[in-house]
């Protein structure tokens, strides 16, 4: 008996507009590009909803109706959800219909799809909590299994997440993490047998996510029966096949004319055609299958790039600089009591901002460039740092005297402050 665990990631950052040095101090809206450029978040949300989320959800819903054994899991970042509410509310409704079937699990992650675990454990916990609240508010469910931004995992992240009460988490089945071991078994975190791990089967996952439309691939075209055959061939060779990928695979990375939606529509039926196969959600997989051993992850593992480490977000001086500058503002922004500033700061924690600054493969025009709305990593960095400087300037406007004085000041409402000012003058 082989369980197939399908999980799709849904995420859209709030991209920073072309924010110039001259805008510092006068323009405090960072994410409101209304131009025809790819930094126009409303436009991107609309485009991806129409090309990917809505038609893919329809295919998933049809499968759920047709196959009682079919199950699937999603992780939807909070910053994506709030943009759907703002720009494309029908996407929220569509996901609600999926969740209402009772066979769709929602996973936990950081609200802002951030790298907060790197710099601020407190902020990390806060963002995970915010996300769980958002998921509950929209879908009425509570997540039990955690997935970190871009499947980044390390021993200490595992213990942090275990500490927050989650049953387990998802990780990349990278060769340098697994060694000779197979991704088709459940493992547990080093030193914590009760915190379990599900490892992505990157070969089969990437066959869909990356290779599906590649005509140079000897297996092209990939059909649902062929793929089901590959899945079935794993029978007896493990408990669970974890197929993890970005949901935008359907319709956005692989366009509709590649036949990706037909594949999505027929793949579950083909897999279930073998009576030994079944579908499981992450929570079920962790509950049903025993751990076969501890996985020691002293170094970061992720699902990004060939390196499958942190280098997509933190491998050059501008990325280090930007990360440092961002988290250097954390305590000021939180002490200021300025709700709008805190929200902007958190929107700046989204990992995509750092991904856009990656220079690793940039000359070759690879995926970083494909996914970046900026002309170059340097354009991304300059806009980001200008925005951070504006944010810092906003905070310095707020009184920064003694703590006592500040709390008194904060206690005064905005209106009261205005009155006080009028009296003084």
């Amino acid at each position: 008996m082989s369980g197939v665990c399908l999980y799709f990631q849904v995420h859209q950052p709030r991209r920073i507009k072309r924010y110039r040095f001259f805008d510092i101090g006068s323009d405090h809206s960072y994410f409101n590009d209304e131009s025809e450029q790819d930094t126009n978040n409303a436009r991107i949300a609309r485009k991806v909803a129409d090309k990917s989320y809505l038609p893919a959800n329809e295919a998933i819903l049809a499968n759920l109706r047709e196959h009682p054994e079919f199950k699937v899991a999603f992780s939807l970042s909070g910053i994506a959800l709030e943009q759907f509410e703002e720009y494309t509310p029908e996407v929220i409704e569509s996901f609600k219909r999926l969740v209402d079937t009772g066979r769709v699990e929602i996973l936990a992650e950081t609200y802002y799809h951030s790298l907060a675990f790197l710099e601020s454990p407190a902020e990390f916990r806060e963002q995970v909590r915010m996300h769980a609240d958002k998921v509950h508010e929209l879908f009425g469910v509570k997540p039990y299994v955690f997935r970190n931004t871009e499947l980044i995992y390390r021993n200490d992240i595992g213990s942090m997440v275990a500490d927050m009460g989650y049953l387990g988490m998802l990780a990349e089945g990278a060769d340098h993490l697994l060694g000779w071991r197979k991704p088709t078994y459940v493992y547990h975190a080093e030193g914590d047998p009760s915190f379990k791990l599900l490892l992505k089967h990157y070969k089969l996952s990437d066959d869909i996510a990356f290779r599906f439309s590649n005509r140079d691939w000897e297996e092209w075209p990939l059909t649902a029966p062929k793929f089901a055959q590959w899945v079935h061939a794993h029978n007896g060779d493990g408990h669970v096949i974890n197929l993890f990928m970005d949901y935008e695979t359907f319709g956005e990375h692989q366009w509709e004319d590649t036949g990706i939606f037909d594949f999505l529509r027929s793949m579950p039926g083909e897999i279930l055609a073998h009576p030994d196969n079944t579908f499981v959600t992450p929570t079920e997989a962790l509950a049903q299958y025993p751990s076969v051993g501890a996985l020691d992850a002293p170094d970061y593992v992720s699902w990004a790039d060939v390196e499958r480490d942190l280098s997509a977000w933190r491998s050059n001086p501008i990325q280090h600089d930007a990360l440092r500058a961002l988290y250097a503002l954390e305590s000021d922004v939180k002490r200021s009591g300025d709700v709008a500033a805190l929200q902007d700061w958190r929107r700046l924690t989204t990992s995509d901002h750092f991904y856009y600054m990656c220079t690793k493969w940039w000359q070759d025009g690879d995926v970083h460039k494909y996914f970046s709305p900026y002309e170059s990593p340097y354009e991304a960095f300059i806009a980001y740092m200008n925005v951070l400087n504006d944010l810092r300037a906003r905070l310095e406007v707020a009184p920064a005297a003694s703590t006592h004085k500040r709390s008194v000041w904060e206690a005064l409402s905005h209106k009261a402050r205005g009155v006080l000012h009028a009296i003084k003058s």
């Binding site: 040095f21 001259f22 050059n316 501008i318 600089d321 340097y378 300059i382």
Partner: protein
């Protein structure tokens, strides 16, 4: 395969980038074993490139009937008199045109003496000579475009006579090589050349040829020690190089960051106007003019600068950013330049968008990490852009030409 290459100048007596490019290409071809004969209009001592040098003034000029054959072009004395009537601007540059025509008149004999398989001519100054060689031998002709009249004038007052020679040369050539896709576009759009006939071969640079300073310029270093930023412009002070846009951006930066020094290195017909412009903008005390510098002196300036800006209005390629990066200094280059196609780890801006330029200059001055990333990644890119690569691509062009002719 024998290549007869027509150039105009060679280091050390070169007035610009054309001589350096020809030298780099000739040397790389010679060292890869190609039979390259490099023709110059006059005999004078030149840097050893390994190429077989030919000086046209050691050859007999065309006389009598041969001159008539040549007259099927348009460059006989009569024709020249006619052209001077048609193009009054030739009166002023008469000596240069005379030189170009004299070169062409001697080219016939040179070509017959060397019997090339391919003729390769560099820029309009050599086009009449190259065309004459093609007529003499029937060998296929390659026109190499390092710059067009549109670049030199910043799309301003184009010299019609030069344009006509360029156009004629490109049309008579079997293949046109341009130093960038940017220039290919100009050749297609403004000269009516079939894009299928145009091959882009980016220029190269050999790190050993570039002066690299071990220490920065001392006075500037002291200024920098006081916390000042230094932004450098290197290039002729002409319309094409956009020094006026540099000053406009400087003024915008200085409004926010007064402790910045803008250094202008170069000379040219706009020198006085540029100095006055700095004063007019009220930034005279923050702009330093060094005049024309070369070699070590220039390298020490590159070294001390936080950023080198090349705001050219139209730059077919642009060697300055490569020199800067080899000296470890990041660059901000005009999007209207060919070098932007090769150095991807550079900041870019439209030459007219001085807001964007000022925004990026400020970012460089404020963020050491940005400087470091651009300098190290950009430096690596430049080091791979060697002349050997250029020579190999030219050889491929020749082979394709010779093959086509054999088949016919």
């Amino acid at each position: 395969m024998r290549v007869l290459m027509y150039g105009w100048e060679f280091p050390p007596h070169n007035s610009g980038g054309l001589g350096i490019a020809c030298y780099g290409l000739a040397r790389a071809m010679a060292s890869s074993g190609a039979d390259v004969r490099f023709v110059l209009p006059r005999k004078y001592p030149v840097a050893a490139s390994g190429a077989h040098m030919v000086f046209a003034d050691e050859s007999e000029p065309l006389s009598g009937t041969e001159a008539e054959t040549f007259a099927s072009g348009y460059l006989t004395e009569d024709r020249l008199r006619f052209m001077r009537g048609k193009y009054p601007e030739l009166q002023y540059g008469a000596s240069l045109f005379d030189e170009v025509l004299r070169y062409a008149a001697r080219s016939h004999m040179v070509a017959l003496a060397h019997q090339p398989d391919v003729i390769h001519m560099h820029d309009w100054l050599c086009y009449p000579a190259g065309m004459a060689a093609k007529r003499a031998t029937g060998a296929p002709l390659v026109a190499h475009v390092h710059a067009t009249e549109f670049d030199r004038t910043g799309f301003g007052k184009v010299n019609q006579a030069i344009y006509d020679i360029e156009r004629r040369g490109m049309h008579e050539a079997d293949v046109v090589v341009t130093v960038s896709a940017y220039t290919k576009n100009i050749v297609v759009e403004h000269y009516g050349i079939d894009p299928k006939k145009v091959v882009v071969v980016h220029n190269g640079i050999d790190a050993d040829d570039v002066a690299v300073a071990s220490a920065a310029e001392a006075d500037m270093r002291r200024i920098k020690g006081l916390g000042w930023g230094i932004v450098l412009f290197v290039g002729r002070l002409t319309l094409q190089k956009g020094p006026d846009y540099f000053l406009e951006a400087a003024q915008k930066v200085l409004e926010h960051r007064p402790n910045t020094l803008f250094v202008v290195s170069g000379s040219g017909d706009m020198a006085e106007a540029i100095i006055q412009r700095a004063a007019y903008l009220g930034i005279g005390d923050r702009v330093l003019f060094t005049g024309f510098l070369r070699d070590k002196q220039l390298a020490r300036l590159y070294k001390v600068a936080d950023l080198v800006v090349m705001p050219s209005v139209s730059e077919p390629f642009g060697i300055v950013p490569l020199e800067a990066l080899l000296n470890g200094t990041p660059v901000l280059i005009s999007k209207q330049s060919g070098v932007a196609e090769v150095v991807r780890h550079a900041l870019t801006a439209d030459f007219w968008d001085t807001d964007d330029m000022a925004n990026k200059i400020t970012a460089i001055l404020d963020h050491p990490g940005l400087r470091e990333t651009l300098a190290s990644r950009g430096g690596m890119e430049v080091r791979s852009q060697v002349w050997k690569r250029v020579a190999d691509r030219c050889m491929m062009v020749y082979k394709s030409l010779v093959k086509i002719l054999v088949r016919i």
